[in-house]
């Protein structure tokens, strides 16, 4: 199966050691995590992980099942880029004199929608957010003009079709979930898989 970018979204309890617990599931299989972000979610007390990996769908599905087995993990989703709105943030530190002297730099920053966060005599810090390719392109352009420092943040993503976790969380509440609740997305597709 073809490898491609998958974004894994996890909803977990906010427990100590969760990053290690989850990253171990990847490292055990010698899979590199391209980026990992943890943040609060739309539900109070529930944490959200966003993990980017480059793998085949079969592997990603197995990984998600293994991750869901972790006691503190409530739910794991995986999505392709088409199914997501996603952003990565970047910060650039550039010598202020270069921006003042070289018009192309300023044009470049404007073109990429970068905005200044800090302006000092010696350097200026710009911030931008976007897709990986755009950021990579800006980085390589700025590299020509004495880029002092660069950092890119982990991917964060919103699932286009998701209704959020508030309703999903109800399945995990103490009352027995109703039988029509879907256990796993895979089971929904069983009708396609199952042939007599």
């Amino acid at each position: 199966m073809e490898k491609q970018e998958y974004t894994i979204t996890l909803y977990t309890e906010n427990a100590i050691g969760m990053i290690g617990r989850i990253s171990g599931i990847f490292s055990r299989r010698k899979i590199n995590i391209e980026s990992l972000n943890t943040s609060p979610s739309e539900v109070e007390g529930i944490h959200r992980f966003t993990i980017l990996i480059h793998e085949s769908e079969e592997v990603v599905r197995k990984l998600c099942r293994q991750i869901e087995k972790q006691v503190e993990v409530l739910k794991a989703y995986y999505n392709t880029n088409e199914e997501l709105i996603w952003q990565e943030q970047a910060l650039y530190k550039v010598p202020t004199e270069i921006i003042a002297e070289k018009a192309p730099v300023e044009r470049l920053l404007r073109e990429y929608g970068a905005s200044a966060v800090v302006i000092r005599n010696d350097y200026t810090v710009f911030e931008t957010a976007g897709h990986r390719e755009e950021i990579d392109r800006l980085t390589s352009e700025l590299g020509k003009y004495k880029l002092i420092e660069f950092v890119r943040g982990a991917r964060i993503a919103i699932i286009k079709d998701s209704a959020g976790f508030h309703s999903k969380l109800k399945q995990f509440e103490r009352e027995t979930p109703s039988p029509e609740i879907v256990e796993n997305e895979y089971l929904d597709q069983q009708d396609d898989v199952f042939t007599m």
Binding site: I16, G17, K69, F172, N184, L187, M196
Partner: protein
């Protein structure tokens, strides 16, 4: 995070009066409430407060002082396997805790319900490289179902309730609770113990989906050549009766994995043997002949499947398992039947049509005849001078009638015991299946005896394996577990030697192992014993061992270079199984 918030348990009958107790007392109270009457443990600096509290609980808790923490956890595993209850092991911090790791990994892969309590240095010293400090939580994360570090005594009742709940429910597994010394000492207002029956983020078993049970029944009812594979899930789910009804109604031939042994009695007319690398000929070959493969509570281990791309490709696969991660992991399921087999099997049985597949079953019996002719007959009735492992097990069967608990270590003797031992009832086979832990046998047998003290417990062990944990003879000596130790001595690390013979041109590299005088060693521990090398003494020697009141060690000298056959060579398909 606060675990207390998430462990909302239903109130049990417990007085609401508040008393001050220490964290250590709370640990022991938890064990009593969970019915964990036997502890296998070893004290040390960081767990001393718990051992001090134990001094006053001696009448309610039976603590067995093992000789090594690895022995402690293997004993807890043996206890869990024969009793069906949660096994408990205590160890101190640092080396005590790291010595548990092999047992945790073994319990994890073989789904044993275990709760380990480890002492830890004072919370204030965490991360300072304090004496006997190790990062036990991080070390054990991949080999536990759940682990948690307690630094405050008030957490202990709810954390232990959660630990037992997680260990025994769903697909069972080992849980480790690391308790810092300050928390063990700390006094707090104890409001009684409440058992846990719910953790928000943990769902023990997936909800049974009736449409998939129906689809599975549909597929099964159309099958001409259905074949059932069963694993330990039957035993863990306590679904032996449900399983028997299922195969009897459908008339299915059924084969076991190593871990599933004894879930169905060996003599059942539809039991067609054991799967896997050293399993029986018929079930391996027929895996690639059947049209519907029904896997119940088993996980398609590579030792069972051989080469995956040539495994049962012709068959529709119905997979019943409680663990969603097992579905499609190795073998793609045509219909996955998720859930506890105690629940799913009766549903499926009610939809399956009563059938008689005797002609199909007969095909298994025909292949079995070939195996008997090529392998089994000579293994069980050898004409050569030296004894075979097979004839020892056969003679043991004659004496026990199949009622004993058979514990094994790992290697040739394990495969021979699993192939030939007769089992009449469930929870009679204790072996290290997934991890293949040499040294498992002797300590596991000790625990197995405490789990079922009314039964005969016999550990079949090789001359290599027993030397890995032979110190546990000391535990037997001190506490009197009536374990019968049957050492099958071929003076080699037999299984590795067999592979070197077959695949490395007989270049025997470090498989020649010398042994002490095992009978003398046992005698040193005040355990009676005997060593035999003549066939004529076999029956009486085994009889003496079994009739001896107390532990006994019998060493049987067997053929040095005997091989276990049939064999599916690594990387070969199950249908390419070799009879010699």
């Amino acid at each position: 995070m606060s675990t207390l918030e998430k462990t909302e348990a239903t109130p049990q009958t417990e007085t609401a009066t508040t008393t001050q107790i220490s964290g250590s007392q709370a640990v022991l109270e938890a064990l009593i409430h969970e019915g964990a009457d036997t502890i296998f443990g070893y004290p040390g600096g960081a767990i001393m407060p718990i051992y001090d509290a134990l001094y006053d609980y001696n009448d309610r808790l039976n603590h067995i002082l093992v000789r090594h923490e690895q022995g402690g956890i293997h004993a807890a595993q043996g206890y869990a396997r024969t009793s069906g209850r949660v096994g408990v092991a205590f160890a101190t911090s640092g080396p005590g805790a790291t010595n548990l790791v092999t047992g945790l990994a073994d319990a994890m892969i073989d789904s044993n319900p275990i709760v380990c309590i480890t002492g830890q240095v004072f919370a204030a010293l965490l991360g300072t490289d304090a004496f006997q400090e190790t990062d036990v939580i991080n070390i054990t994360t991949p080999v536990t179902k759940w682990n948690y570090q307690v630094t405050d005594a008030t957490e202990i009742p709810s954390v232990l309730a959660k630990a037992f709940y997680i260990a025994r429910t769903g697909r069972p597994g080992p849980v480790l609770i690391d308790i810092t010394k300050n928390a063990q000492i700390q006094l707090f207002d104890y409001e009684g113990y409440e058992k846990c029956d719910y953790v928000r983020s943990y769902r023990p078993a997936p909800i049974v989906r009736h449409e998939y049970v129906e689809q599975a029944a549909q597929v099964i009812n159309q099958a001409k050549k259905p074949f059932v594979l069963f694993g330990q899930g039957i035993i863990l789910g306590k679904a032996e009766q449900e399983f028997k009804h299922f195969i009897e109604k459908g008339g299915f031939p059924a084969a076991t994995t190593v871990m599933g042994l004894s879930a169905l009695e060996t003599d059942h007319p539809q039991h067609v043997g054991m799967l896997g690398m050293h399993g029986n000929y018929a079930p391996n070959v027929m895996t690639n002949e059947c049209d519907v493969l029904i896997a119940v509570g088993m996980r398609f281990d590579d030792r069972v499947t051989g080469r995956l791309d040539k495994y049962a490709k012709q068959a529709k696969v119905i997979h019943l398992d409680i663990d969603p991660a097992e579905i499609d992991k190795n073998v793609k399921a045509t219909v996955p039947v998720w859930g506890d087999c105690k629940e799913t099997l009766p549903l499926l049985t009610s939809l399956v049509e009563k059938r008689d597949h005797s002609a199909w079953l007969q095909q298994f019996r025909e292949l079995e005849k070939e195996e008997v002719k090529a392998v089994i007959h000579d293994e069980l009735n050898p004409t050569g001078e030296v004894m075979t492992m097979g004839e020892v097990i056969k003679t043991l069967n004659e004496l026990t009638g199949g009622d004993a608990v058979i514990v094994t270590d790992v290697g040739q003797h394990q495969m021979v015991a699993c192939r030939y031992a007769k089992f009449n009832s469930s929870k009679s086979n204790v072996t290290s299946g997934g991890l293949g832990t040499m040294g498992f046998g002797l300590p596991a047998a000790i625990g197995a005896w405490y789990g079922a003290p009314e039964r005969d417990v016999i550990v079949v062990v090789g001359d290599g394996g027993i030397q890995m944990t032979i110190q546990e003879l000391g535990t037997i000596m001190q506490f009197g577990a009536k374990v019968k130790i049957l050492v099958l001595n071929n003076q080699f690390l037999g299984m590795v030697r067999q592979w070197q013979q077959l695949f490395n041109d007989k270049r025997y590299s470090f498989v020649n192992i010398t042994s002490p005088d095992f009978v003398a060693v046992a005698k040193g521990y005040h355990i009676d014993g005997n060593s035999i090398s003549e066939r004529e003494n076999l029956y009486s020697a085994l009889k003496t061992m079994l009739e001896h009141d107390g532990s006994y060690l019998l060493e049987v000298m067997v053929g040095k270079e005997n091989n276990v056959f049939p064999m599916v060579p690594q990387g070969a398909s199950v249908s390419e199984i070799r009879l010699k």
